[in-house]
């Protein structure tokens, strides 16, 4: 066990008593508070200083680009960022919002110098004074290191004079040693234009930093052809294959995508990946067949399951487990020969038992098909005896059933199948399976616990009668609690007694 406290979130009817109480207290004040205004509430909202709000507003107004008025008002209100108001104001009354209202004022330039005059940022004024583009420079005698430095400063700088391979590479090395990726890419763009690819690739192969920049650049501008050439040159066959495979993401039409995936099957992936690519192709192929068939069935309106539970989305391009769930939901009873049958999927894709059972259980429980659930866990041995078996453990079965709001009678059946007595009692208590709790206490000959549990059942109910009958039975057949069940008592008692938030702090060891 561990000694650290954590909080438990696993409580079903967690009452959050403290929180609820606070909420009640706060709510009781609401009438008093809400009498006159609803202003502050809105003011709490993100008002964004000019900086954040611009790019933000650009996003925000995307949806309603038609209504300009609204956008402007939003922007105006965002300017009321509270802390911003406390800043020393520039002497000019010029504000961003007035600017955005479109009042251009002569002499507004003044606001800038005003604003800058009292800050140490003075040194930025000359930079601002001239847009960077004006720093054009056609001088021809910059050394590689000067050129690179000027590039870093964003100045336009001709690279044309670097014509020998040696000059080009020196330029690249200077860029790399300065660490600025933007400059490295600028030089690479020049190199790509002025060197044939064999030479370019050859030189980059021994310059890994520059190589990574070129690969990223080619990915970004979408020069797939050159990228594949590069991978081929570098003998990175797996990356080559993956890069090709990745293109399927851009193909919307399912038939075309399927055909494309087919071209991926022979590519030099790792052995593991090869199997995945094959599965991907097969899965999409199946999905196309199932989708066509089911869309037809659904629109014909003759099939009960589709009438009762209309499909929420197409099954195309869904993951395998989702497809399995779908097939367990709509095609559970189909023969193994059909593509849409769950068993067929299980075999084709070698779905492990555990995963299959979890998925089938969730699907059948959702439909409240309790017989199917029962069959899922029933196995027959060679003598024809039936036995209950769950690869995921019956405690998980119970939880999944409960999540799908199974009735107590059903839950009870599976709680009883839980082997570990403590777990069984915990689950039975949690899900109010009274009979299981009572019977388990009886089997444990645990009188005290039974007594404690009496308060949990309804007054005058059959359960209460049952408990009373047990408690009044002769001592000989129903002795005092045994030493070894003491632990259980504590566990149950803590489950029964603890309330609400105290449980947040129950030991992590639980």
């Amino acid at each position: 066990g561990s000694k650290f406290k954590a909080f438990t979130f696993d409580d079903e009817d967690d009452e959050l008593s403290q929180l609820k109480e606070s909420k009640r207290a706060v709510n009781s004040l609401r009438d008093f508070v809400d009498d006159d205004d609803d202003d502050d509430l809105e003011r709490v909202s993100w008002s964004g200083e000019p900086v954040g709000s611009i790019s933000w507003s650009i996003k925000e107004t995307a949806g309603n680009s038609g209504s300009t008025h609204e956008g402007r008002e939003q922007l105006k209100s965002r300017n009321s960022f509270s802390s911003y108001a406390q800043l020393p104001k520039p002497t000019s009354t010029y504000s961003l919002s007035s600017f955005f209202r479109g009042r251009t004022r002569p002499g507004s330039f003044q606001s800038l110098s005003d604003a800058l005059s009292d800050t140490p940022a003075k040194t930025y004024a000359p930079e601002l004074g001239r847009p960077k583009g004006e720093y054009r420079d056609y001088s021809n005698d910059w050394s590689p290191s000067d050129t690179v430095r000027r590039l870093r400063k964003g100045k336009v700088c001709s690279l044309e004079r670097f014509r020998s391979l040696q000059d080009k590479l020196q330029l690249l090395e200077e860029a790399v040693s300065m660490h600025d990726g933007n400059v490295i890419t600028a030089v690479l763009i020049f190199l790509k234009r002025t060197l044939c690819k064999e030479v370019l690739f050859r030189e980059l192969e021994v310059r890994q930093v520059a190589l990574r920049h070129l690969i990223h650049f080619l990915k970004e501008i979408g020069d797939q052809k050159l990228l594949l050439d590069l991978f081929r040159f570098l003998d990175r066959t797996e990356e080559l294959a993956l890069s090709h495979y990745r293109e399927h993401l851009n193909i919307q039409d399912p038939e075309k995508r399927k055909e494309f995936l087919k071209t991926c099957i022979g590519l030099p992936f790792s052995a593991e990946d090869s199997a995945h690519i094959q599965d991907h192709y097969t899965l999409l192929e199946r999905q196309i067949i199932i989708e066509a068939n089911d869309r037809h069935l659904e629109s014909a309106g003759q099939t009960e399951i589709f009438r009762k539970h209309p499909r929420k989305a197409s099954i195309l391009n869904m993951p395998l487990v989702t497809t399995l769930f779908y097939s367990c939901f709509y095609h559970y009873t189909e023969a193994e020969g059909t593509f849409s049958s769950p068993i067929n999927l299980k075999k084709t894709f070698k779905i492990p038992d555990k995963q299959y059972v979890l998925t089938a259980l969730a699907a059948r429980a959702k439909l409240r098909a309790w017989n199917d659930v029962d069959a899922l866990f029933t196995t027959k041995n060679w003598l024809g005896y039936t036995k209950k078996r769950a690869p995921i453990g019956f405690h998980r079965v119970v939880e999944i059933l409960h999540k799908n709001s199974a009735p107590v009678q059903i839950l009870q059946e599976y709680v009883n199948l839980v082997e570990d007595v403590d777990t069984k009692l915990n689950l039975a208590t949690k899900f109010k399976c009274h009979d299981v709790v009572i019977d388990t206490c009886r089997d444990l000959k645990d009188r005290q616990q039974l007594l404690a549990y009496r308060s949990k059942v309804d007054k005058g109910s059959a359960e209460e009668e049952k408990i009373d009958a047990l408690l009044s039975s002769p001592v000989s057949s129903y002795s005092l609690p045994l030493q070894q069940s003491q632990e259980t008592v504590h566990k149950v008692a803590s489950c029964v007694c603890s309330q609400g938030l105290e449980r947040i702090a129950v030991s992590r060891a639980m």
Partner: protein, 535 residues
Amino acid sequence: MAFPHRPDAPELPDFSMLKRLARDQLIYLLEQQHEVDKLYKVENKPALSSSEQLCFLVRPRIKNMRYIANLVNADKLAGRTRKYKVIFSPQKFYACEMVLEEEGIYGDVSCDEWAFSLLPLDVDLLSMELPEFFRDYFLEGDQRWINTVAQALHLLSTLYGSFPNCYGIGRCAKMSYELWRKLEEEEDGETKGRRPEIGHIFLLDRDMDFVTALCSQVVYEGLVDDTFRIKCGSVDFGPEVTSSDKSLKVLLNAEDKVFNEIRNEHFSNVFGFLSQKARNLQAQYDRRRGMDIKQMKNFVSQELKGLKQEHRLLSLHIGACESIMKKKTKQDFQELIKTEHALLEGFSIRESTSYIEEHIDRQVSPIESLRLMCLLSITENTDKAAGKITDAFSSLAKRSNFRAISKKLNLIPRVDGEYDLKVPRDMAYVFSGAYVPLSCRIIEQVLERRSWQGLDEVVRLLNCSEFAFTDMIKDDKASSESLRLILVVFLGGCTFSEISALRFLGREKGYRFIFLTTAVTNSARLMEAMSEVKA
């Protein structure tokens, strides 16, 4: 609750200056245009505007360039002439210009830069709002943002003086540091003579510690981020939280008095605090009974507004807690946390593996399953565990020596009895006492030693022997107060849990931490950044 800072804790620098600077720059850039009156999201759609000129404010991405090109070329086809201006933030990339040129619109559009890279999200938190930094650098190996980081650090030293003590670990940290130094040399003289306001700077690469970022968060702010996603310092609380029919955008920072007191708390403490707060509030309202007119007048004019504000905040955070509890209960959070702790501590691997297996089978959430597999993969130091599916990830986390590092740095506290989360004894409280965040432990150890001395083995295990550095710049002007201010720079993102842990450390030691991150991150964002997207 909400531990106060020590009386000798230093004051935080004033970051509002950054906001103003950015604002003024933008105003200046926009002033060159006339009458910007509509804002559109840049996307692949024709512009509805009938304006004579269009101005685009964009991140420097190829995709955005293509959108703009489509728009301009459509105008050209329609025989329409307009002026176009592209403002790149925080900077322009040559690859973008290349696309403009290829698309035949270079010269039709003019370009500018808005060097906005430091957004103060809170009094102690600056964000570069560059979530793409993580994927670009750590996955693709593209160093395009290193200059942006260096520029941001340069700006900070211009505004707040140079940093007398510099430490760092990680390849990106080292490169950023070197480029930053180069900038300082080039523009020598600007920072000289300024009294340093911040005594230490610590640069740390995200790949030093993936484990912490992959864990479920249990401090309030982290949980809110994991559950509702905090964006740019604000969160959208849906109707289930506001108990009304509308959603509410709420700013989460130190100005929210209720939030400020619970943000760093372990979630299990939050309820107690909120109910105490609710009772106090009730009592304060109750005081109005039995007041005479004059007292009532005072009450209404002086106290009521504050109480109302508090009331609103309180009901919001109570609503948020309820919603978190509901969601976490549904997710079997208890089991999940148990598995995570087992992975961190390195026991019951078989159980953890079968838990993860079932997690996949039940299709709980692909991102969550991946996260758990990555956690298993790093903590167990095996690429096989996660298999090909997390190829991207294992290429990042290769040769993780988590178990050895954990032992060396004592990341799993050995405690007798129970860990009292109400009175945290160490940074492990941010993970229920089960684990001290590795990133924060490294920072703590280096600050204690003022160097990497004695940490050679750890540095070696982190595969960072070449990339751990210390740089002391002798500066007599540094006040003792400034020497207790530490700027921590997370390259590739930091989580709210790490921020909380360091805030705790600061309170214990009388330091104060300031955070600069490329973006605030969490496990889900990390996994999403690594998954393959449509081109």
